[in-house]
Symmetry: C2
Subunit: 209 residues, 2 copies
């Protein structure tokens, strides 16, 4: 039988980080939240929002805390994506990072404080530090799978919206045009929507329900 001190060896201790892949939707476009990394190595380069977790903090609490500290964003529901642990992924120290993701409405109301957080278009994601671009790629894939089975896109729209507006959300997430008639048929078949007898005559000549 192994002694307890052999099973929990001090020398095996490493740092654990969390990184947040935050997608924002606004006006038909999907954006990614980035900031300028503030520490060496790679200080000043583009990074996801992330940091080392505290030794006395639940893992799942860390991303919410760090996101709020750096951007002011509160109560964002983050879902665990994947843990990244190649031994050489961070040249600063041995750090395993647990990536989280979320999809929110992007506004200009990020309180950047002393930080330089900003939204970038998903089509113009810069080279990020470490393996952060891999995290973004995996999160995009996860988000696309996610909306296939759950109506996540609805959260990004007001309570009353038109089908063309919803189509825009889905096209932004999947990053390709979606056939309008198939989309209508499938979405209405889910039974998740209630058709209102109100037409949007501002954005559509015929008017969209």
């Amino acid at each position: 039988m192994l002694a307890k001190k052999e099973f929990y060896p001090e020398k095996n201790k490493i740092l654990l980080a969390v990184d947040c892949v935050i997608f924002g939707y606004r006006d038909g476009e999907l954006q990614l939240l980035t900031f300028r990394r503030e520490v060496e190595p790679f200080a000043g380069e583009w990074s996801l929002i992330g940091s080392i977790i505290d030794e006395n903090e639940d893992l799942d609490e860390a991303p919410t805390r760090i996101l709020q500290e750096i951007t002011g964003l509160q109560k964002v529901f983050l879902e665990q994506l994947h843990s990244f642990g190649d031994k050489n992924r961070d040249t600063g120290a041995r750090v395993v990072s647990v990536a989280y993701w979320s999809l929110i409405q992007s506004t200009d109301k990020i309180n950047v404080a002393n930080h330089t957080a900003q939204w970038v278009s998903i089509n113009k994601v810069p080279k990020l530090v470490l393996d952060h671009n891999k995290m973004v790629d995996l999160a995009i894939q996860k988000m696309q799978e996610h909306v296939r089975y759950r109506p996540i896109g609805f959260e990004l729209l007001p309570k009353k919206f038109t089908l063309p507006q919803l189509l825009s959300v889905y096209e932004a997430i999947h990053q390709r045009p979606i056939d309008d008639r198939n989309f209508r048929r499938k979405i209405l078949a889910t039974g998740l929507l209630i058709k209102l007898e109100i037409k949007d005559t501002v954005n559509s000549k015929k008017g969209a329900y």
Copy 2:
């Protein structure tokens, strides 16, 4: 700007473990690989196969190594499931655990060496140490989602098999009876199978293709 030593603080270092949820399929039954934990706290109680990762080891290499050390099982393809990091999950030390899962053919050929690994029926999983039962529950859910979109069940059968055999695999995974005729229709519609003009007249009176 934070100094490097403030960003990678020694005091935040913790232990990282991996735990393996290994499902095995045999004769219509799904099993789970467990072993008797060998260290305090909870020495002698039932546990998943797991251990602390080395500081110089890729995270994704650790579960394969540990599984082989404890059971002799080689080259098992493990998929990352979820990271479990509540601060009090392990009373022995602060340990975050990355759970992995796999579905293999269970045989009696586990080389238990000095360990006490054994298969238990999925319907009779004992109380496991720490949060290991949560890991099993999540892995079952993941496996059920997984087979809905990918033909994972096929790996558990010989190259030539009958539809009733495949149905048994799916019933074991979903832990409920599945309608025979719907199953045939759906499976054949995937185009993944080639129907052979050979009948199994041993297990079926009429003979199954």
